[in-house]
Symmetry: C2
Subunit: 600 residues, 2 copies
């Protein structure tokens, strides 16, 4: 490098006019006017106009003439005010330009496969991931990652100040087949044995509490070999924290302060705390889901009482079978076609049908006010009750009903609620609505296993007041777990953990885990509980998802520098890939295809 950079572009202000400086960066655009060459040069910190005038050293001018977009250069020149009328108010350096005196080409560039100064959302993701370095270098491409850096900083700043210690946990650890599928790492020294990559540092952070660290955190990679439906990644990043001598409320309050600090520091948004605390039962019955989106209304109302008194056989028979009738009020009228679409939507979710009543406030006659094929089954008193129940004050509204088992009624109406909010644009832009969901059941019944399974994980502490129900009526026991939901998406969850061995063993027993099995899988944790484990609890956040939501991005792939595809491939490096047979043999492995080849 013959020329030495003196300034980053972000440091350049009109105060430097008249000074000689050198800047380095990439050429975003080039324009020629007569013999004058204009460049838009950019580095990480900004964009600067560079001018090669006709009068300069002919060698420098000739060199400048060879420049193409994305060439990497250093330019030495004198900063001057742009001629009047030539200012660009859109960029911070819009009042000035660098009049070049000397130029060094540090590297050339092929022509990029997509434009570097435009929105790339129309470019296929496969091309963008293959040329990820160009996508990131393109205008605004670095923003999500610079933002992510600030998120990390803000989180650490808060937690360090609160006495949390950043402590490391191993990545090569033991397979504990609970939850998702493990990624395995074959051991070379121990034939037939494997390490596993951690699904989370759960057991280690509990061990840290037993070790007396009291407050731990880590921004840590976790791994799950899941079928990659939706927006999942084989590896994802978690903010993991754990505290000793705390209650649920202590953890939730701390996390609220943490998130408030984060939003304040990175986006200048002040959130109002505390966040609502909805019981699991309330969330399900009011929003049809334990991940309610509170940015809009459309709450579910229980119309079972009214339905029971009606003549509508579909409703009555659902109720007789122990089901529910619930409805939501939508502030709009629908066309027949729209109603058909909504019905199909509900049917795809398992509904037998979708009942509806159109309501028009100004209607002077009964028929003008209430319109529906089912309205004839409801006498006016019942419709008055309906009017009160749904607080019908809108000019126009539609009531939509599902009558089914409790769980289907809730899940269908919950999905319908989200669907309608999007369809009717009821969701305010750039709003962040957090809520806690608490009082989860400790267990749910698994048809597959034929026994109760943990709703969260087997280390979750039951509510004290429900302890006596543990063996008698396990499905009634509530847990000290709490999930945190942002805009209808679960971004984190945690619980108070079991810190006494006797209680942990009772839980394993209910889960059908034998003492031998528990010993083999979790022996080290059980043993640690025998040596003065303090009460403790914590929480883990999905950082990728939180950052995605903060930035309003559509996929976590947009906020991970080198993400994998839905099929688990890295389009940049080509991982996973074939390896040399010696590597496989050293690990005492024969992959299936190799074995087949031998057998054939």
């Amino acid at each position: 490098m013959r020329l030495k950079r003196t300034h980053q572009i972000g440091e350049i202000t009109p105060k430097l006019i008249g000074e000689e400086l050198s800047v380095s960066g990439w050429i975003l655009r080039r324009r020629d006017h007569g013999g004058v060459i204009f460049l838009d040069l950019r580095d990480r910190t900004g964009l600067l106009q560079v001018v090669f005038e006709e009068g300069i050293d002919p060698e420098v001018h000739a060199l400048a003439d060879s420049l193409r977009i994305e060439y990497v250069i250093t330019v030495k020149g004198v900063l001057r005010r742009r001629p009047p009328g030539m200012e660009n108010p859109k960029i911070p350096t819009g009042e000035v330009e660098l009049v070049a005196k000397d130029l060094e080409i540090l590297n050339t560039s092929h022509t990029p496969p997509f434009p570097m100064d435009e929105d790339l959302s129309e470019v296929s993701e496969a091309i963008r991931l293959k040329y990820r370095y160009l996508e990131m270098r393109a205008l605004n491409g670095q923003e999500p990652f610079i933002f992510r850096h600030k998120v990390n900083q803000a989180l650490r700043e808060f937690l360090n100040a609160r006495g949390f210690l950043e402590l490391e946990t191993p990545y090569l650890t033991k397979s504990t087949p609970e939850g998702a599928r493990d990624y395995l790492v074959p051991s070379r020294l121990y034939p037939g044995k494997f390490y596993a990559l951690p699904q989370s540092p759960q057991l280690f952070k509990q061990i840290f509490m037993v070790a007396g660290f009291e407050r731990y955190y880590q921004i840590v990679r976790c791994f799950r070999d899941e079928d990659l439906r939706a927006d999942r990644q084989p590896e994802f990043t978690q903010l993991d924290l754990e505290m000793s001598f705390v209650t649920e409320e202590d953890v939730m309050q701390l996390v609220e302060e943490l998130i408030s600090h984060l939003f304040e520091k990175t986006m200048g948004i002040s959130l109002s705390v505390p966040f609502p605390r909805l019981s699991y039962q309330y969330a399900i019955s009011t929003y049809g889901t334990d991940r309610p989106d509170l940015r809009f209304g459309l709450e579910l109302k229980d119309v079972s009482e009214i339905a029971k008194a009606s003549q509508f056989q579909v409703f009555r028979s659902a109720l007789e079978k122990g089901g529910f009738v619930k409805g939501i009020k939508v502030p709009a009228h629908f066309t027949r076609k729209e109603i058909e679409e909504l019905t199909s939507f509900a049917q795809e979710l398992g509904a037998k049908g979708l009942a509806w009543i159109k309501y028009t406030k100004r209607g002077t006659t009964f028929e003008e006010k209430w319109s529906s094929p089912i309205v004839k089954f409801f006498d006016p008193t019942l419709l008055n009750k309906m009017e009160l129940l749904f607080e019908l004050e809108e000019e126009k509204a539609t009531l939509l009903f599902v009558a089914d088992t409790p769980s289907l009624t809730h899940s269908i109406l919950g999905e319908l609620r989200n669907h309608l909010a999007k369809k009717l644009s009821l969701i305010p832009e750039r709003e962040f609505k957090f809520t806690w969901v608490v009082d989860f059941p400790l267990f749910e019944y698994s048809e597959e296993e034929g026994r109760p399974v943990s709703v969260h994980h087997p280390f979750t502490h039951p509510k004290e007041e429900d302890l006596e129900l543990l063996e008698k009526d396990p499905l009634k026991v509530r847990s000290k777990a709490y999930d945190i939901v942002l805009n209808g998406i679960e971004i984190g969850g945690g619980s108070i953990r079991i810190h006494r061995r006797d209680l942990q063993q009772r839980i394993f027993k209910i889960l059908g885990i034998s003492e031998e099995e528990a010993e083999e899988k979790f022996g080290f944790l059980l043993q640690a509980l025998d040596f003065g484990a303090p009460p403790h609890g914590g929480l883990a956040f999905g950082l990728d998802r939180l950052i995605m939501l903060m930035l309003g991005k559509k996929s976590i792939r947009e906020v991970i520098p080198f993400p994998k595809t839905q099929r688990g491939q890295c389009l940049l490096t080509g991982a996973p890939s074939e390896v040399r047979i010696e590597q496989i043999l050293e690990l005492h492995l024969l992959p299936g295809w190799e074995k087949k080849k031998e057998g054939s």
Copy 2:
């Protein structure tokens, strides 16, 4: 938890005397005097004396009587000044004690397998690792990890302030069989294909530079499946950084400032910068190693000129074969037994023998001054030259000589130098001597491969002035690499990288890597170099090792919360372990033992 903790012990000062407070923690010691029970209670922040007097609620007293060491409790009481003469000046709370009024036992504890209030260095490492949580909870056991937390903080604080971005790289990536052996992760979706865990994020950080981030860092886990000689771990933590538009000197200066900041912030030590910059040639010829320990002298002197003029056949024949004669001066006399031991030490390193001359300054006769079986081969003029060369001013000294090939002479004397410094206690305690080693050769000749191989890695930039030697005389080419050495241990290294594809391809050619092979292994990097890669360079530190040296610990296992043994096992969890056959089959693998079983 019935009682709510109001204070951490570290917050308790005599200002709180007379106030009612509640503290939580573990019982380190218990003493009974008559009916009075004294506890030493501790939490992460300190140690406090708690007193249960005879007069208190008999139920509380009875409960206190059941307490054993390492029980976890909360105590409510009133803080008072200790009676005169009972103060303990060794602890910050030594003037006060908590007079208990109420007690809650949060958990009991088995008796720990080792004492919790003593130095544990006598306890076997296997026991300590199995009960790691107790070792960490024991007095001073948390210190290395609290220190490590502070190191992370100081490093990030500095780098954030300097515009470095913390950016994530993948852990499931592509196997690039350069350097050490990869840990492989079999893919379930792509039978016969594997991810690899990264040996370092080298290629990704270069991609970040191509992406225009300019300044990157990460505190990141790296993985090497090496034979675990010495003090290595399968996974270790690295501070990884990379910068664009920089020279070697820019990177070295930044790292010096970083390390100075780190030592200042975590230990209050101010280091003097710049650190010495020794050329590789100078380091080897003066210290016999490219990792010189500068805390003591004992430099190697070249006595070839003197040896050539002597009559000592061993020296002369080594010289005639193109070898060297070098010596070091040790400020001590040795017994015959000690000389024998030193000779064996040298012979184990490959020396044919170890020549020595004993020097006594006050000796009035020639024989009193110079004593050695070989002294007869040197005439007085030569011994005078020797006196000058070694600057012999000590009362007593011994010169030790090795005559062999250059590489053996250096390696033997280099090891001998370190050995003697320890043996003679020439190494000052708690001193930190950093040095850079620069001007490394780019290649070395590998007998095994029959061709030049990279001394660092194939992306290291050659010195500009040596570029013309690349094909003509590759072993003469020096690189833009720099290693940083602390107290004789390499703690980090880096280089300016190649940023032009043409140069990278020349290097691959010299390394015998065909275009196809380069394309397959590093294609994505080569392609990135075609699209405007800026000049860039960086460095990576072994954080475990640096922290170990800062704390004066003997093994990196002391500063890693859950380390593995030399044989790669985790004694806490039992990893690596067997897994269910279903897991193996899902990964399309059959481990060797399984195959054998089938075949039998």
